[in-house]
Amino acid sequence: MTLVAEPHPVATDPTMPSERSGQRAGSAFAPPAPPVDARVNPHLRLVDGKERVLHPKPSGRPDPTAHLSAADIEALGRELDAIRQTVMDSRGADDAAYIRKVIAFNRYLELTSRAILLFSLFPPAWLVGTAGLSVAKIIDNMELGHNILHGQWDWMRDPKIHSTTWEWDHVTPAAQWKESHNETHHTYTNVLGRDNDLGYGIMRVDADQPWHLANLGQPLYSFINALFFEWGIASYDLKLHDVITGKMPREESKPRVDAMLTKMRRQVLKDYLIHPLLSGPSFFPTMGANFVATIIRNLWSNGVILCGHFPFGVDTFAYDSIEGETRGEWYVRQMLGSANISGGWLVHFMSGNLSHQIEHHLFPDLPSNRYAQVAPQVREICQRYGLHYVTGSYPRQLASAWAKVFVYALPDKEPDRSRGQIVASAVKDAFVAGKAKRAAKRAAKLA
């Protein structure tokens, strides 16, 4: 290698160009440890000849992959890689036209609905406007926001339809959502103790999650969370608990809180002040319409998301199961840890194609309009390898997910104690602990 130019004047080490230019590892140019990729690195390629290590869970439930050899799993990985590549290679003008059409449709729908709501004093206008706005908010969050923020459309190199620039009709800023969703949830899907989406930190949805007395109230929390889902997600993305308890350092939490508050203010102003003000005498009906549309969007998207990982039949994975996980194993975990919703075109569209949750988790950056195309192939692979493919209608899957919320509100039966006895003793423990705490407080006061 010949070097033509003089070293950059700021480069203080005069030997740098000739001495170090050929080196890689350990040179001054070596990049710092990558924060994200280091974690997923073993996932980047398929590995042959690796011994399978099964990681049993505390509950001792059977491992649904126990019948597969390491070679089976890598073969399965190769098949899935091939499916993905076929779609990636065939992305083109039709796909681009699809997403632009959805965006244009959604913008017109929102605009028309908001225009109709300017006359929302008139009940039919309120009804039509609210319905239209609800649909627009759903499409904005599901088929557009979620998928664009996944980078499904980054390949178009359109800076307006890009994961780094897109913003959505949601109180969470896109950047924070991408972190908790794309990075944490999609990497650690259904790994106990790592994927916070397993119950969002407020619910117990798996036998291998520990039961606490507070879980008794989870059907209520879950319902409130569904109604105000957007705010639930925001506090979750913000890591509100870590911010309040000071677990997150202030220099990290401050910009997060600021960005969140800015976004929240914008959303609230738009829906509950500016749009109502524009409506003049229809101020309060329009404000109500925005509130109702937001609640409808919340309930719908919460339902779709519950159906994605909570229905019975979906698997969870032991905390240490992902150490040294290969790409093939990652694929298997994504398939077994997700559930689909069956139905017609409208269900798929309105769910942002998260009805193809299994396919989405296998290929998070595949354009959403293509999941339907790969679904039969994925299902066939599952069948051939003897793996379950959980799917069902929206009402059925939603009922199943909610059933779990109720079932796991209670502790699991133990050999020597009934559920009732466990709850009773937990109540007693809590009472005793509370009493001791109060006594300690009193003693501290007296002292």
């Binding site: 290698m1 033509v4 480069a11 040179s27 003008a93 036209a97 965006i103 178009m156 780094t164």
Partner: protein, 336 residues
């Protein structure tokens, strides 16, 4: 109302970002060259003949940016801009524009750029030296300023008579006496040899202000010729293609803001490698002239693919590099 809703309704509106344009019609100039008529968005702020613009078009769903010289008259009543492109072998955009582009297509535009223009004090004697599609910026000058230039000689090279873009118009200008045209058809006449031909074709070439645009080899020859004659300052050159040298070392490129890490080989621009890794990179001409792709190199070394020049940065530096012509010459960190 959110800006993106307004852009959906009218992409050519004032304030639309990025600036858009609509293809109004396409006119075939030769078998493989076409002129495209573009209605620019409301924020188009005009151009000086000889300048180029960045032109972004979606092909197969993917946005591609290129630069093209503007050839339109400034006083067009319809306000349309024109660019002319020649389909080159394996040229993704040029072939698409010449063969598949349809009126009504929405494209994306940058504002006019470049200093390959005539000075406001028009020179008395001018020589235009052009080859192939290098005629385009000069055509922009001729169409707008020929009447202000008292003495113009043009030497234009093209493989055959049929390949001459704007042939009719050029020959008319010559016929009406507004300029002297030397048309070289290189398939039969051979290539222009400046050392031999120039004295014969344009005996007073030393007195002329020269604007040259064409293939890299021709421009290199021009630079040598006018430098040797110690008249380099008279020569104005517009380059439209980078010529790449042998591959270097390559290395790991770390993008510090996005956390993306790519393995770049030493023979390819970092911009391309990063885009293939799915990154959205600032980019423009892809040939090192528009400085749209400049990013700070925080640490490491890159090599300029055109010159072989290596640029170094130690931690804490922020050396602006053009990612479209820079390849990794070892591990580097780029702020993006």
């Amino acid at each position: 109302m959110p800006a993106d809703t307004l852009d959906v309704i009218n992409p050519l509106r004032p304030g639309a970002d990025p600036l858009a344009g609509r293809i109004e019609r396409i006119h075939l100039e030769t078998a493989d060259a076409a002129t495209v008529f573009i209605k620019p968005g409301a924020d188009w702020s005009g151009h000086i003949p000889g300048q180029y613009l960045r032109f972004g078009i979606d092909i197969g769903g993917v946005r591609q940016w290129r630069t093209y010289s503007l050839t339109s008259r400034l006083d067009r009543p319809d306000g349309l801009l024109t660019i002319t492109t020649k389909a080159i072998p394996d040229g993704l955009v040029s072939n698409h524009v010449v063969r598949d582009l349809r009126p009504g297509t929405l494209v994306h535009l940058g504002q006019a750029e470049g200093d390959f223009v005539l000075p406001t004090a028009r020179p008395d004697k001018v020589l235009f030296l052009t080859g192939g599609s290098g005629i385009t910026p000069v055509m922009g000058m001729l169409r707008n300023h020929i009447a202000e230039l008292p003495d113009v000689v043009m030497i234009h090279s093209a493989p055959t008579a049929r390949d001459v873009i704007f042939a009719t118009e050029l020959r008319e200008l010559a016929a009406t006496g507004l300029m002297r045209l030397v048309e070289l058809h290189t398939d039969t006449d051979g290539m222009l040899d400046l050392a031999v031909d120039l004295d014969r074709l344009v005996p007073d070439w030393r007195e002329r202000e020269v604007w040259a645009c064409g293939p890299a080899g021709m421009l290199d020859a021009c630079e040598t010729h006018w430098s040797t004659a110690e008249l380099r300052e008279r020569l104005h050159v517009e380059r439209f293609r980078t010529h790449l040298h042998a591959a270097g070392e390559g290395g790991t490129v770390t993008f510090t803001k996005t956390g993306t890490i790519v393995e770049a080989d030493g023979g390819r621009p970092i911009l391309e490698v990063a885009e293939e890794a799915g990154m959205l990179m600032p980019h423009g001409c892809r040939m090192g002239i528009c400085y749209q792709c400049v990013l700070p190199l925080r640490d490491g070394a890159v090599r300029d693919l055109r010159t072989g020049e290596v640029t170094y940065a130690a931690p804490g530096d922020g050396v602006a590099i053009q990612t479209c012509v820079s390849a990794a010459a070892g591990a580097c960190e780029i702020e993006h």
